[in-house]
Symmetry: C2
């Protein structure tokens, strides 16, 4: 059939969607979700997912085209669009198989992920894929196949050196900005460490948000390759480079029910490492009552999974099970964290000790893994690189290479101090509550908002002494934090 | 925040969707799929599902409103829309529970179905619900709870009489138009039989398509109640009355992978019976190598499920396991089937015997179930009502009450005869292939297209004799049927 194009001036959901009236769809036995081929003479043709308008907004002789297909077909008024029926993607059969409990071959994973990236699967169809992986689990080989498929159907960075370092932290600990300490130390040792990081989703700051206080985190893949080859490393926002595109699509579908099938979680993380060509990787698994992994045994089991998947992908993976009982550093929120990091790198006296120590420990492991230090010598070498100022110098080179940012390193304008109600010892800091307070105060959107902790676990405190201060850019946000019961953030005994 | 409304002149997917720019969404920590409350001063407010435009088509200070919310908020140029964050529906928690293998209480099913009907669940969220029911199964109590929820959150027809009859056939047999024989017989006996039927989805005709040849099948609920109270019955398109609205939503989400969780299938069918207040129901389960239910044991098991669910809903359910080896009647396609039905009702000599016999058998069971005939006397009573012309008269009353249709009862203009290649006996008719040929010829969209069978199983046939004729409205469609290898439709030995 030939139809008059009607532009729908927006793009939501899938890239290529075309809309027919209910009457026309019925006439040609087409249903929402069917695939059609649409052609605008010799100006272009494309494959689209059909949607059906029930309300008479599209006439019988019209086809509704969202912005992207409209543009791709070089549509002009007066054009006529030819519609023919296209087959549904074969990957739907594989998704059904996975939902029915079958194991899928690498070829089938690749077909599914190819269609995800090409936007030829609707959100509903992807949701069934996620359901299948969630309910039936995935074998290690399936996880490897999914990882490879994500990388294959996305970009990949290549570097001149044989060894490429990376790290990842299974989040949940506020203020845990070790990446910004570790990457400069490792790069200062002459290794390559191309680090893509995420923005906060439910936390007060992701590494990308904090790094953005100091440097541009939106360089493209080509530029990032150059930076790493020249300076040794970068810290950029993963969402700004098209490295694991399939992952972003799938996360969109996983979000509504917060579904984290373990195989997908592993594949998502490992694909990001694989896509920057990393082959020596440190995974930090914080363990504690208020982070994702609560028991040491679970941390060990998860760590073994990472090692196994890594081995199958040709990566050496090492695991650090760290203490996740309290926030790391003193600042929580992009600027407050960036200030902590800068102090550690400049070896200032009042730099947070726990952040420095954790950074050194991780850098030490990575230096050994990267063959820059003998077994047992990594920590010492890392300390030398930090204390000599070499790491700091490297960090400044990285910032310059990525593009300097000029956000003032100062706290939000409005402050609220929370004081100890009695004298004693700090025996508990409520990670999640601290994070929510910082978020409510405005972090990570308001870069200077957040929380500054004066006391950590084991510290002595006197009645009336400051426990922490909340900073915000406006009074209302500051006031809003009170709903949490601010005194509950600390337990003093 | 206050935003400028921008109209998006279409409605697809969920009813109330609002779109923010990526920047604005990021600023307020909002994500696609979040729920927001949008208010247009005192002109109105509503709850919407948020979508995010990535492409800069919505400005930072704008909110995109699809047709329905635009209208509901009485939006005019110059208006300012206030947006506040709303909670996600609690039903998402229950959907997650179902996906995790828990059994849900009737209250939780009701909450989910209420949100489905109110369009407060996105397709992705519904897909997880379907996945949960599909993967974990549903107990009988859950099926009953789902059935009741579908009816509670939709319309329901009420009649003056104590006994209300209904029937349902688990499809798969072409030409199986018994409903149009059974309803007039049962109504002629003085019973009430309000029949909602479906249109074809993958078959050459649904009962609604065939009935539409003769009568209007789109009366509203109020009118249908009047018709049934006055005439005793009707045959209408279920999609035209808002009786099981939730079911339509869920079918849209089940379609992409053709997922038929048994509990949902049962609930879907039983909700339709329950929503017309039926309490005496006959379920026809055709059994054969090429229909949905292949083995007699499976048919019995399914039948027992129907009986059990029916009992819990206060319905008397009887099961007929019928022969599904070959099409019923001679015509396949709306007009060709309607002609068969009219011949049976008029007791014409060349009326298809198998259709007549199956209709009488089913009507007989229903007359006994409806207390109009003693046990063992139903068939005889049905035969009397048919042969006396009373059923035919009743059918004409029903047509008149629903509104007469004037589609000519004649075959499609173009015909292709398929002849026997040898002399022998018909030992096989390929149900699915016959259905595909009829569909390809144009049924059900072209009402007069389809297939007419001259020979049935066991019939003797001479070489060169006609086995069947294909009818179509245009030559191309007729020609297209050849791709199936028309000789494969019959096996002669």
């Amino acid at each position: 059939m030939k139809l008059i194009p009607r532009k729908i001036p927006i793009k939501v959901g899938n890239k290529f969607v075309a809309v027919l009236s209910k009457t026309t769809a019925h006439k040609f036995d087409l249903h929402a979700g069917d695939r059609i081929q649409i052609k605008n003479g010799h100006k272009g043709d494309l494959r689209a997912i059909l949607d059906v308008s029930e309300n008479g907004e599209i006439d019988e002789n019209e086809i509704g085209l969202f912005s992207e297909p409209w543009k791709k077909l070089k549509t002009k008024r007066g054009d006529r669009i030819t519609v023919t029926i296209a087959d549904k993607p074969i990957s739907l059969v594989y998704i059904r198989e996975k939902l029915d409990g079958k194991k899928l071959s690498p070829e089938k994973y690749n077909e599914i992920i190819k269609d995800v990236v090409e936007d030829d699967l609707s959100d509903v169809e992807m949701a069934y894929f996620v359901s299948g992986c969630y309910k039936n689990g995935m074998t290690d080989d399936e996880t490897v196949a999914l990882t490879r498929s994500i990388v294959k159907n996305g970009g990949r960075l290549k570097f001149k050196k044989r060894i490429v370092m990376d790290k990842h932290c299974i989040g949940g600990v506020p203020g845990n900005r070790t990446t910004m300490i570790v990457v400069p130390i490792v790069a200062a040792a002459g290794l390559i460490m191309p680090k893509t990081s995420s923005r906060a989703i439910t936390s007060p700051a992701g590494t990308a948000d904090t790094m953005e206080v100091l440097a541009n985190v939106k360089n493209d893949a080509k530029r990032l390759q150059q930076i790493a080859n020249r300076v040794g490393g970068f810290i950029t926002w993963g969402g700004g480079v098209d490295l694991a595109a399939a992952d972003d699509h799938m996360i969109r579908v996983r979000n509504p029910l917060s579904l984290d099938p373990q195989g997908m979680l592993l594949a998502s993380i490992m694909a990001k490492k694989f896509s920057v060509s990393a082959n020596r990787v440190l995974i930090d698994i914080p363990c504690g009552p208020q982070v994702k992994v609560k028991k040491r045994a679970d941390a060990i089991a998860l760590g073994n999974k990472f090692k196994l998947i890594g081995r199958k992908l040709g990566m050496k993976v090492q695991i650090l099970i760290s203490n996740g009982e309290q926030p790391i550093g003193n600042g929580i929120g992009p600027v407050l964290e960036a200030r902590d990091v800068l102090k550690v790198l400049a070896c200032e006296k009042d730099a947070p000790k726990d952040l420095r120590e954790k950074g050194l420990k991780m850098a030490g492991i990575l230096l050994e893994l990267g063959e820059k230090a003998k077994k047992g010598q990594g920590y010492k070498k890392a300390k030398d690189l930090l204390d000599s100022g070499k790491a700091n110098k490297k960090f400044m080179q990285m910032i310059k290479a990525q593009g300097e940012q000029r956000i003032a390193i100062r706290e939000g304008e409005f402050a609220k101090h929370v004081l100890a109600k009695k004298t004693g010892k700090v025996v508990g800091i409520h990670n999640k509550l601290v994070a929510r307070i910082a978020r409510t105060a405005g972090a990570p959107v308001d870069k200077q908002a957040g929380v500054y902790l004066y006391k950590k676990l084991g510290d002595k405190v006197k009645k009336g002494e400051k426990l922490f201060t909340i900073y915000a850019d406006n009074k209302e946000r500051l006031k809003n934090t009170e709903i949490f019961g601010l005194d509950n953030a600390y337990t003093v005994k």
